[in-house]
Symmetry: C2
Subunit: 231 residues, 2 copies
DNA sequence: GTGCCTTTGTGAAGCCATGCACAAAGTCGA
DNA sequence: TCGACTTTGTGCATGGCTTCACAAAGGCAC
């Protein structure tokens, strides 16, 4: 469940816009690497895979950073979006649950390059505790609260089995964390002010299957034949 | 974008509804495991973390499967949603790119339990080819098209580096695949009729960082109105 | 400076999703 | 059988998001 953050309206940036800013940032970084100095909304929209009017409206929420007749300065826009997203500062992230998925995340370099620093790996399994992964040592989740407080962890990634997720969630919130990324297939219950985002790969596959089924058969199998089966 | 022709029949289920059906299904399975026979929209909505009116409207798109005064039959609703999502049939999935993430996905049991069968693991690295993971042998991605055709793969998961993603995408589409789940941080260009869903963990973290920053400082660092807020 | 050309920023319209509120429909006990 | 009670299914209002279309703004050539 994703709770709405009332504060997001303080500067009036719609949630839909915030969700696209990282997309623009990625496209801009690609342009910067190729040495592009300025880019029009049309070209940037193409690179980001969105409508150009939508892109302009999104960017207008941050300020008037474009030049009419020219476009946007790539470097300047990268900075402005990064600042708006809070990527100009360093975020300490802890990963709880170092199984298949937790290891993949720990080894992933794409986080660090975006200002996210993995500051702790925690697991409840003694067989896993002590493992060295990506330069870190897995610690026992008994020390979860201590790790969060001592290392200034502000974002926690939950990659435990579903049965442990709510318990872990409660503990990290009690320790002061208000931003959680949840991979466990369970609806987390959290108090107001805590932001939970979820990633459920199984749901994505199911959505694909829905559309795939429609392409092949035009709908659920034998839809009409089943109409009278209820009751 | 895919344009749908509205039929006289209620075959047009809104995307927002489709995206929630797996959520309901998960909640229903939890209820079924605990032996619950019927459930009201209120209770099911609570378990799924949505508004009850929204849940009823979503379910109404599938048909009138509830009983007024009683609620919904758990087993029957599980079947109806599964059928609508196409989970009553078996989907063969191939994972391309067997690195950190690809391995985690291959080892994950949550796919198989929902009707998705991993039918192939493919990688371009000879050092990886031949590895045994979750009962499968990693094959060379040269044989991508053959694997897709021979094993009836209809959904492909791309877990390669970003630089290889578009190329892999083009190949699987040429081989007839029209459903792709992409983990690489790039915008894939595909022809009409091909569905691409993306999962970008980095984007999720950036969205969390945006909200986290607002909680802590009230906005981006060095905001123009910073001085005026003192006092 | 002047005029032309490109591109931004945004008003306005349309679309879709959400959630309230309630009549209709069905259950259940007497 | 009947009436009280519960819960569904949905009409409708509200609000947010998307897209179009264009005036205003700025660069550039001369
Ligand atoms: N692997 C995938 O591709 C994938 C895909 C979708 C969803 N998921 C979900 O992500 C989660 C993790 O998946 P996985 O494949 O890594 O599972 P896993 O079993 O390999 O790893 C889970 C880890 O969490 C640890 N753990 C258990 N309870 C804990 C606790 N209370 N505190 C700290 N650590 C604890 C376990 O010791 C284990 O190391 C699961 O909820 C799974 O459903 C995984
Ligand atoms: N690991 C994570 O947690 C994570 C998180 C977010 C995004 N991603 C993205 O997911 C993708 C995979 O991440 P990873 O950590 O597993 O990377 P990885 O480097 O560990 O694995 C990539 C694999 O793809 C293979 N490969 C390369 N080119 C190929 C080709 N043309 N055909 C087939 N296979 C090919 C490589 O041999 C390698 O085994 C990347 O795009 C990454 O940005 C990963």
């Amino acid at each position: 469940m994703i709770r709405r953050i009332p504060q997001a309206r303080e500067r009036g940036i719609p949630d839909a816009t915030v969700a696209r800013l990282p997309l623009y940032l990625r496209a801009l970084n690609g342009l910067a690497e190729r040495g592009t100095a300025t880019v029009s909304s049309e070209d940037l929209a193409l690179a980001a895979g969105v409508n150009s009017a939508k892109l302009r409206k999104d960017l207008s929420h941050l300020g008037s950073y474009g030049t009419r007749g020219v476009g946007y300065d790539v470097q300047y826009l990268i900075y402005q979006i990064s600042r708006e997203l809070g990527l100009t500062q360093d975020w300490a992230v802890a990963i709880v649950g170092v199984g298949n998925l937790g290891r993949a995340l720990a080894n992933y370099g794409g986080f660090v390059s975006r200002g996210f620093r993995v500051a702790g790996l925690l697991d409840a399994d003694p067989a896993v505790v002590g493992d060295h992964i990506a330069g870190l040592t897995v610690e026992h989740s008994d020390g979860l609260e201590a790790v969060i407080r001592k290392r200034g962890v502000s974002i926690v990634v939950i990659a435990t089995p579903a049965t442990a997720a709510q318990q872990v969630c409660d503990r990290v919130i009690a320790a002061g964390v208000t931003s959680i990324l949840n991979f466990a297939p369970v609806v987390l219950t959290v108090p107001d002010g805590v932001d939970v985002r979820k990633v459920d790969l199984s749901i994505e596959l199911q959505i694909l299957a829905f559309h795939e089924q429609r392409k092949v058969t035009g709908g659920p199998m034998m839809a009409e034949d089943w109409a009278g089966e209820a009751g």
